[in-house]
């Protein structure tokens, strides 16, 4: 393992951004989000979660993929892609896990070329969490706040320095390119980091347990709960906004739209939300999910029942963003708790 002293981080940003687009958690008006780093940006590595997860790096909110031109009756189409290597620095372990859940959707057959190219071109550096938030419950999904197996490089914040461990070929390569800024880590430093990691995991797991945020069994219970009254108690307070879906590291629904000036333009895909009224509205005017009740049910069933049925894992990483940001506290942790309660109640 290596380490980098924090004084050298500005040099690291400069060096990384000279070889690739460097995404870092950047603070603006009190909001921390991942953005391509520019000289003078206020980098915030302490903020636990960015408002928007770094899914927008691998799956941009808006992504033009085609240009077109209509001339008389002739149609010209050409692919449009913004290529280029990038480094994502500072993704938390839950967010890295979120990306691996997106992988399952986009990389399964037929493979999504736009997504897989972005995944290939990127190197992901994850920063371990030393102090999880009250809303964090990644341990409920067998994740560790101090470890991201899906990251190319894992970094632990040890105060004056970051402990640095390459975990993949891409990670090794990037490590080699900034070797001038790194030092070898002493054995006791590595040991301290691993001890910290274990402590943090145990602490968060205990807190999540106490809150009743235990999803085990929920996917089975939910199979018989499509018609349950439980959705009645959830949906009424839902505002029908898209906060939960857009800040969720695993939500991946998208729309496809054209834009044009005269007869020339482009086609893009963009995030969409199953919470929106027009998401399933058909041209005929029919809507199979006409009210917030069906939409709220769909969102939680998808995360906790349908996705697991297809991929064996819950589509939630316990990042706690919806717990923090839903304006009416209709979050997945509460749903897990309530649904879990139904199971034990019926036994």
């Amino acid at each position: 393992m290596k380490k980098i002293v924090k004084d050298k981080l500005p040099s690291l940003w400069e060096q990384l951004s000279s070889q690739a687009t460097l995404f870092l958690p950047v603070e603006q008006d009190g909001v921390v989000n991942f953005a391509p780093w520019e000289e003078g940006d206020s980098v915030n590595l302490e903020a636990l979660n960015t408002v928007v997860p770094p899914k927008n790096v691998v799956f941009p909110q808006t992504e033009t993929y085609m240009r077109f031109k209509v001339e008389n009756d002739k149609l010209h189409i050409e692919p449009f892609e913004q290529n280029g290597p990038y480094v994502l620095f500072g993704a938390r372990p839950c967010d890295v896990a979120g990306i691996t859940l997106l992988d399952k959707v986009f990389l399964q057959e037929p493979e999504d070329g736009l997504y897989s190219r972005r995944r290939r071109e990127g190197t992901v550096i994850s920063v371990a969490c030393n102090e999880p938030d009250a809303a964090c419950f990644c341990t409920s999904f067998e994740l560790e706040p101090g470890m991201a197996p899906g990251a190319d490089i894992m970094v632990w914040d040890m105060g004056d320095y970051l402990l640095w461990k390459a975990q993949s070929e891409k990670g090794e390569k990037l490590t080699g390119s900034v070797e001038n800024l790194l030092q070898e880590a002493a054995e006791e430093e590595q040991k301290a980091a691993m001890e910290l990691k274990e402590r943090v995991t145990a602490k968060e797991a205990a807190a999540a347990q106490e809150m009743g945020w235990d999803p085990s069994g929920v996917k089975e219970t939910l199979k018989d709960m499509f018609d349950s009254d439980i959705w009645e108690q959830f949906f009424r307070r839902c505002l029908g906004c898209g906060i939960c879906t857009y800040i969720c590291p695993t939500c991946h629904c998208f729309d496809i739209q054209d834009y044009s000036k005269d007869q020339e333009g482009g086609r893009f895909r963009c995030w969409d939300s199953c919470m929106f009224a027009d998401f399933t509205l058909m041209g005929s005017g029919e809507n199979p999910r006409p009210t917030r009740k069906e939409r709220v049910r769909q969102r939680f069933m998808h995360k906790l029942c349908y996705y697991p049925s297809n991929f064996g894992l819950y589509a939630c990483v316990g990042c706690g963003r919806c717990v923090r940001k839903c304006p009416v506290n209709l979050d997945i942790a509460q749903v897990i708790k309530e649904v879990g309660g139904v199971k034990s109640g019926s036994e």
Binding site: T62, T245, Y259, A277
Partner: protein, 323 residues
Amino acid sequence: MKQLAEIMKDIAAQSLSRGEVDLVIGWQKGPLWWQSYPAFIEGNEGNGETGSLTWDSFCVPNLSRYLLEELPERKKVALFVKGCDALGFNQILQDKRAEREKVVLYGIPCTGLVDPDKVESAGLGRGLLEVKRDGDELVFVYDSGEQKAQARDFLYDKCLTCRYPNPVVYDQMLGEAAPVQPEERFESVQELEKMDADERFAYWARQFSRCIRCFACRNACPACSCRECIFDIPEPRWLGKANELSETQFYQIIRAYHVAGRCVDCGECTRVCPVNIPLQELNRKFIKDINELYGEYDAGVDPEQEAPLVTYKTDDPAAFTES
């Protein structure tokens, strides 16, 4: 405040069991200290759920807006209203989206609500179990004990400038009137007015560049009461779905214009925004302009009062097209 919560529970149980209303909308406590969310209690005696009603420093969601969805399905609805909820209710009434006789209002005098972000920023969030209000103070409860602080330091900015902490409309008032001591609400607007047009454009461009187009600002707003919002109509799609600054500006400017003269200044738009866009500041610029152009007007205070931007007068001295 504990007392008030008890009164709320009793009154809700009473009006449900007597069949006076078939739905009570109030607030309920969630599992975490900052979670107090809208509660919907129905049926005879509320199925025993009236006991879950709460009143604490986090009952911030404006409940008036829920009438838009709930009222058509119900005979009569009881609503607990803070000052800002009552203003929202009156606006919905004025916009002809609710009938007064179908609603029972229980007024709650409000001494300001706590902004969880301010608690976190002060470093008081770790291990926090509960926040209690004790007069002008807040009591932060931890496993290890309690800590007190001045409540005013932790209230939402919108509460610090609130001019109507006591409901302007109610059928029954619960509790003593709260003191009215608002700070100047147009201070940040005045700062914006000092900028030249380019600076102001840059300021709002920066704010709007963070917008993720979740529409929470619209969906939380008691003045956004259209049956179908223009931005939800798929064909023709007026607002492009690309998250680009020009589209966002189009959305945000239309939104602000559409609530101009009807915005009750409840500040829910700013509270719900996940990326801290100061939307209330934009709305207040409109309020300030309306006050200066047409005389002082507070939307939501009196639903019978003529609203400045929707009142047509044949003797209007200004031509329609005059800029």
